[in-house]
């Protein structure tokens, strides 16, 4: 439940920064914080208290005499695998956004969003 509350808090801090801040770099930082919050939410979905990480390097984690792993001793690895994907996509998105900011800076010599008024009506 703590993870759930903390990840929601992170998502809203990021959304607040993206809505309120006027500096483009700060907006991108807000998007990154939001990304982290979503990742934490997905990981906390698979967490079960008292279980170990899904890396089977000990004999005790197997059922006796077989190669089958005891499911009641390991947390869910599937959300972690999905988050691994999401982190990489997040890096790609951040890099693209930063390159757009560099382009915008070369036009107006400013990264304050108030200076870009061409699309305002």
């Amino acid at each position: 439940m703590v993870f759930f509350a903390a990840s929601l808090l992170l998502i809203f801090i990021g959304l607040y920064a993206a809505l309120v801040k006027r500096n483009l770099i700060k907006i991108i930082i807000g998007l990154s914080i939001m990304d982290t919050g979503v990742n934490m939410l997905i990981i906390s979905l698979g967490f079960v208290k008292g279980r170990t990480a899904p890396i089977i390097s000990l004999k005790e984690l197997f059922k006796k005499g077989t190669w089958l792993v005891d499911v009641s001793k390991v947390v869910d690895p599937l959300p972690q695998a999905l988050v691994l994907t999401a982190i990489v996509i997040g890096v790609a998105v951040t890099a693209m956004a930063l390159s757009v900011v560099i382009r915008m800076y070369s036009v107006k010599k400013s990264i304050e969003i108030d200076d870009f008024k061409e699309l305002k009506w």
């Binding site: 929601l8 309120v20 899904p54 089958l68 499911v71 869910d76 990489v88 790609a92 693209m96 560099i102």
Partner: protein, 230 residues
């Protein structure tokens, strides 16, 4: 005014999301496909790290798509910043002796650490994406320390393409020797918890490590090349 509107908006969205997420069972034992991955993961793949078995084997096709997305982002970034001296009023400054000495000492170690992470991806936490990022951080350290440092873009893109082709090629071998794309029955599975085990999973993760390392290094180089040299 703007802040008040934002806070009101966030409160409404937050209450809605709270009521929605309160119905999700957190911290409960899982069933279904995750149960199969955990229970049969070692028997089917022999890789100690179950997350790696899922990312590379069970959902290997997904990872191929993810690598493609990263490639597209790198291509889009170099398209946006191609021969653009957008930040030409910023000069790269001369770095201090401490930074240069530390870089000379640390850079080989960072490379070895990154390679260690992606070679042992099926045994310990880590893998191709993480190892590649570590290598790219070493390249970034070189950029910080030496203002005249350049990367060879042609060599980087060749390495990247070779790594991508070998990923897809290993997948096609699976189609040839077994009945499905990226099937893990080309190489013998080996023993549990040994370096040479888990079939093609380490090979694919090494390819991914090279690809991600080359891609992120190229991305950093593209961004830094928009400043004025010297």
């Amino acid at each position: 005014m703007r802040k008040i509107v934002a806070i009101i908006f966030l409160t409404i969205v937050g209450l809605y999301m709270l009521s929605l997420f309160a119905q999700i069972p957190f911290g409960k034992p899982y069933k279904g496909v995750s149960e199969h991955y955990v229970e049969k993961g070692i028997e089917e793949n022999r890789g100690s790290n179950l997350v790696t078995s899922i990312v590379v084997n069970y959902r290997g096709f997904d990872t191929l798509g993810e690598v493609t997305v990263l490639f597209l982002a790198a291509t889009g970034l170099s398209f946006l910043l191609f021969s653009c001296k957008c930040l030409r009023e910023f000069k790269r400054i001369r770095s201090s002796l401490v930074l240069r000495t530390a870089t000379d000492t640390l850079f080989p170690l960072i490379l070895v650490f990154g390679a260690y992470i992606f070679i042992h991806g099926h045994l310990t936490p880590g893998g191709g994406f993480q190892g590649g990022s570590v290598i790219a951080s070493g390249v970034m350290l070189l950029f910080l320390a030496y203002r005249k440092f350049h990367v060879n873009h042609k060599a980087l893109s060749t390495l990247e393409s070779l790594a991508g082709i070998s990923f897809a090629g290993i997948g096609l071998l699976g189609l040839l020797y077994a009945k499905s794309f990226l099937a893990n029955s080309v190489l013998p599975l080996g023993q549990w918890n040994k370096l040479f085990s888990a079939g093609v999973i380490p090979l694919i993760y090494i390819a991914v490590g090279f690809k991600v390392g080359a891609e992120l290094s190229g991305l950093i180089a593209d961004m830094i090349s928009t400043t004025k040299e010297d």
